[in-house]
């Protein structure tokens, strides 16, 4: 051991972030769709460590025995109502006003779909709806394309975050255009949350290594063979990617660089 102690690396400060005034510890946001039942949903949510979970608004099923609001832990999770299935600004606004009447609309996920096959967002309608909702007092988290121009407009408008897609909803294709996500991160002063298209843990890690603030996913967990374990994997993948981003990765080299000393070799 050298006699003079060297300057040691400081222990990292607790890594929290702020979304719409909330201080969050988890950077993983999850959906509640596609699960077998309430039990599996509850288990996967717990394993994910998520603090914010999305829900959809639908007509009541008069035959249903239970209701999501009767079993989901409102103390553990902030519910984030989405506008899945809306194809126009008006439908989206109407949907979220009903959510607000249900008393659950502190923050809302705006999602205006442009095509049933790709479920890609209609950014033009999304911009229109975002403006109406902000004027109406909502705190808006919009799902959008990986389009830096649209993201800046939404930020300038007053959205609480931007949520560009990694790939089409439910495709599991991972981040198709890291270059655009990086441009969005570079320009944004509000949180950037990758939403949709993540397929496995390394995809989530990549999103964090690009500098994103969080990742929102549903199918990647719900459609895994073992959803609980995948929820845990995603939680770890996001922590890994975030820590790697903060640690500052090594530079890439076209050629090699020895990791053992190149002097003192026996002759």
């Amino acid at each position: 051991m050298t006699d003079t102690p060297t300057h040691t690396e400081p222990a990292p400060a607790e890594d929290t972030w702020t979304l719409a005034g909330r201080t969050l510890h988890s950077r993983l946001l999850v959906g509640t769709g596609k699960y077998k039942d309430a039990e599996e949903t509850t288990a996967a949510l717990a394993a994910s460590g998520a603090e914010i979970v999305t829900v959809a608004l639908r007509r009541v099923d008069l035959k249903a025995k239970d209701n999501l609001l009767s079993w989901i832990d409102r103390d553990a999770y902030t519910l984030l109502p989405n506008t899945a299935g809306c194809y126009s600004a008006d439908e989206a606004v109407r949907t979220l006003r009903l959510a607000r009447e249900l008393g659950i609309a502190d923050i809302v996920k705006l999602e205006v779909i442009g095509d049933p096959k790709t479920l890609l967002p209609d950014n033009e309608q999304t911009l229109r709806a975002a403006q109406q909702l902000i004027d109406d007092g909502f705190t808006v988290l919009p799902y959008v394309s990986d389009d830096p121009i649209v993201c800046r407009k939404l930020e300038d408008m007053g959205c609480a975050a931007v949520m560009p897609l990694a790939a089409p909803i439910g495709s599991g294709l991972g981040i198709r255009n890291p270059h655009n996500i990086r441009l969005i991160v570079e320009q944004s002063s509000i949180p950037v949350i990758v939403d949709a298209g993540v397929g496995t843990a390394s995809d989530a890690a990549v999103a964090m290594e690009l500098g994103c603030d969080g990742v929102l996913m549903n199918t990647a967990i719900a459609a895994a063979k073992l959803p609980m374990q995948m929820a845990d994997a995603m939680k770890l993948g996001i922590e890994a990617g975030r820590k790697a981003f903060l640690a500052g990765r090594m530079p890439m080299r076209a050629h090699a660089h020895a990791s053992s000393p190149t002097i003192g070799l026996i002759e």
Binding site: G31, T32, G33, K34, Y35, T41, T54, V55, A56, L57, R58, R59, V60, L62, N67, L68, L69, S70, L79, P81, N82, A84, R97, L98, A99, E101, L102, G103, I104, I169, G170, A196, M217, N218, T219, A222
Partner: protein, 68 residues
Amino acid sequence: MVQDVVVNGEHHAVPEGSSVADLLQQLALKPEHVAVERNREIVPRAELGNTTLSPGDTLEIVTFVGGG
């Protein structure tokens, strides 16, 4: 005497003079678990009791379900 109203796209017979609250009770729905639109206008929760249904009223009764 009963009257006919449309709930989530289906016809329902409700006693004359029923309020939206009466309808929810008839449907075994907890008011705190749903939001209601009557003829495309939101019925505030506080107004459920004193909003009387008229024949032909169209109601959307919604709640939260699992979604991504």
